[in-house]
Amino acid sequence: MLHSFTFHAIAAGIAIVLIAIVLVLRAPKIVSHLMFKYLRKRRIAWVSLVAVMLCTAMVIVVISVMGGWLRMFRETYHGITGDIVVGRQSLAGFPYYQEMLDRIQKLPEVAGAVPALRTFGLINIDGQIHDGVQVIGYPLEKMHSVSQFRHSLVRQYSDCKETLDDPKATPEEKAKAKSILNAPASFKHVYTDDLYKAIQPNMDPDTMPGMIVGASLVGLNKRPSDEAGAGKPDYIRPEEVDLYARWAQLTVMGVSDRRVSIDLRDKSERRFWIVDASRTKVWQYDSQTVYIPFDVMQEMLNMKETKVTDAKTGQEEVLPARTTDITVGIKPDADLYATRDKVRQIVDDVLANHKIEFFRDPVTTRSWEEVNAKFIGAVEKEKILVTMLFAVISVVAIFLIFCIFYMIVVEKTRDIGIIKSVGATSNDVAGVFVGYGLAIGIVGGAMGLLSGYVFIHFINQIHAWVGRTFGFTMWDAETYAFDTIPNTMNPKEVTVIVTVAILSALIGALVPAWIAARKNPVESLRWE
């Protein structure tokens, strides 16, 4: 519906301008002549011009920022989530995932499918940071086929990308950066065991896997709000200390469907070396999440395949390996929802074959849009709300134009009588004021477009300047999930806004024009 509205708005805008030009060319010369004279000599009309300009610019800025934000939001969430997620809310997860993976990967639409684990834990980084975190277990070497997660890695990806963009970098540096960029990401240690031993003599580096931490968790943010000197906690800063020479101790609890209560014996603790930081630009990931290898996490949570012996009957039973999520990446030309349905069919099939049914917490298969609907929907609603608020404010412009035009009509009553006495028709008189409104709409809309464009283009610089000068930060990275204000304009939206601006000016001019047209020439001539 929105699409057809857009189309109609653009068509209406073009039609109005074309019809206006034809009418002006065919109308008596006096119409355009007086219109431009009044436009130039009546300064009060410029007020309505400025009103149209400001309203146009305002709505363009709001829609562009909100729209850009929504787009970034969607892209980022999509990038982290992957295309389709099979998951279960319960941290106990679901079994037979390997069977599902094998069958999902055989689908022609699927580019890749990997298991992922999700739980919550406590982290102690270098004895300095103690925090509760979301823990995610990824088989990092396969992640590139399903999501853009590796693009968030500061050391393995962002720094390499900067090196590639840096004109001062040597060819060798660039070649090295390129090879790292093309390789899959990994949890490999950054330094040699000798170096780790030198740093922490009482720890055994071999037993310590790699961990990726959220960039904000360790203060690796490049937020403008930091420049403004807002009171952020002083975390470890990479310029002060080498992040990759830090250890982190993680505590998690294993959860199983087989037990009602949580058993302290399921507590698991392990030390890791920090090997990278992840900067997804989504605040809750960057400030509250750590990533560890899938295998390590599965072991810590007791979710690997295990043999148990029933204490009473002495019967041996094999408990299958479990995971909490499967992330599926689809091929670029594949249909998201058709593929989701196929994946869902496989999942249901596998669970049915093994006679597994979760009554309270079923395994769901959802697209990335469905997974993030809560967040994306909130932003979408916010965009609509803010746009409507500003549109209502813009209606004020219509009334302003109406008032100013009415004033001009009253002031020009005698002129109307004069031109009628030399043979102008009521249509000609109306034409002067309708044309006047149209001209103000077109010029005001164009100026609004220009000023909106300039403002949007420099919005981050303006924001930084305001922050520096007045110590006021409007765009809080923690609230809006992104550290720069989006500054792209959607040509379709902008066309609709400018068209509506022109139409508004026209509507504001119509009633005064009608009043002017039906004025009795004799009475008008007597007007003092």
Partner: protein, 260 residues
């Protein structure tokens, strides 16, 4: 449009009148009461005639002029232009009449303050021609406007605005505007009413010259008897009716008030 005018002209030769008003009535509402300004007006205007209608202020002479010029409508009675009832014409046709057949001159000049002398003079041409036609005919239109202004001695003030002109000069420009499209009838409403007597005499000399040299048909209304009597024929509007003036020295005995 030219065709219409020509066909009307051929009709006019039949009865010899450009404008013929019969049984005109007009009243205005003033709050609860209504004031009758024209009770029974009958009038015939022949081509090339200079007619003055004398009347006190408020006698309805301006209203009569507006009705004759298709700018206002009578409550009853008809106005025939070239034998055709103006009231039967469409609004557009009446506008065309005002544009090409009639030229109005007002007491308070009524020039557009934003336009200069030349633009004010070309006003009727700007109404007549579309933007495109005005553009392609601009040299001729401009030439005609300057020609008219030369007749009135205003050719040296083309770029001046009305505010920069004296009263007499403004009235000359207003006459120029009325003559721009070569109207058959010039309708002048107290053309000297806002001027001192010397300037008023000059404006009258302009009208007389137009009448004498170009056989311009002129209908002038005024309250000033001395001005009125410079016309060929004078009628007095009194209590809503047209009468012969008491002093008939200027009256051509061959032409009485319209009594048909």
């Amino acid at each position: 449009m030219t065709k219409t005018v020509q066909s009307i002209s051929t009709q006019s030769s039949a009865n010899g009148a450009i404008l013929r008003a019969s049984g005109l009535k007009k009243s205005f509402r003033m709050g609860d009461s209504s004031v009758v300004v024209l009770k029974q007006v009958d009038l015939t205007i022949r081509p090339g005639e200079f007619l003055a209608i004398e009347g006190r202020s408020g006698s309805g002479k301006s209203t009569l002029l507006h009705i004759l010029g298709a700018l206002d409508e009578a409550d009853a009675g008809t106005v025939e232009y070239d034998g055709r009832d103006i009231a039967s014409l469409s609004a557009r046709a009446r506008s065309e009449l005002r544009n090409s057949q009639f030229g109005f001159v007002f007491q308070f000049y009524h020039l557009l303050p934003e336009l200069n002398v030349l633009e004010n003079t070309m006003l009727a041409a700007m109404v007549k021609n579309s933007w495109l036609r005005f553009r392609s005919n601009k040299p001729q239109i401009r030439k005609r406007a300057i020609e008219v202004l030369e007749q009135l001695g205003m050719e040296h003030r083309l770029k001046h605005r009305p505010a920069q002109l004296s009263g007499g000069e403004r009235q000359r420009v207003a006459i120029g505007r009325a003559l721009m499209n070569g109207p058959r009838v010039l309708l002048a409403d107290e053309p000297t009413g806002n001027l001192d007597s010397e300037t008023g005499r000059q404006i009258m000399a302009v009208l007389e010259k137009l009448h004498r040299e170009q056989q311009q048909t002129i209908v002038m209304v005024t309250h000033d008897r001395s001005i009125a009597h410079r016309a060929d024929r004078v009628l007095v509007l009194r209590e809503g009716r047209l009468e012969k003036p008491a002093d008939v020295s200027k009256q051509n005995p061959a032409q009485g008030p319209d009594d048909e």
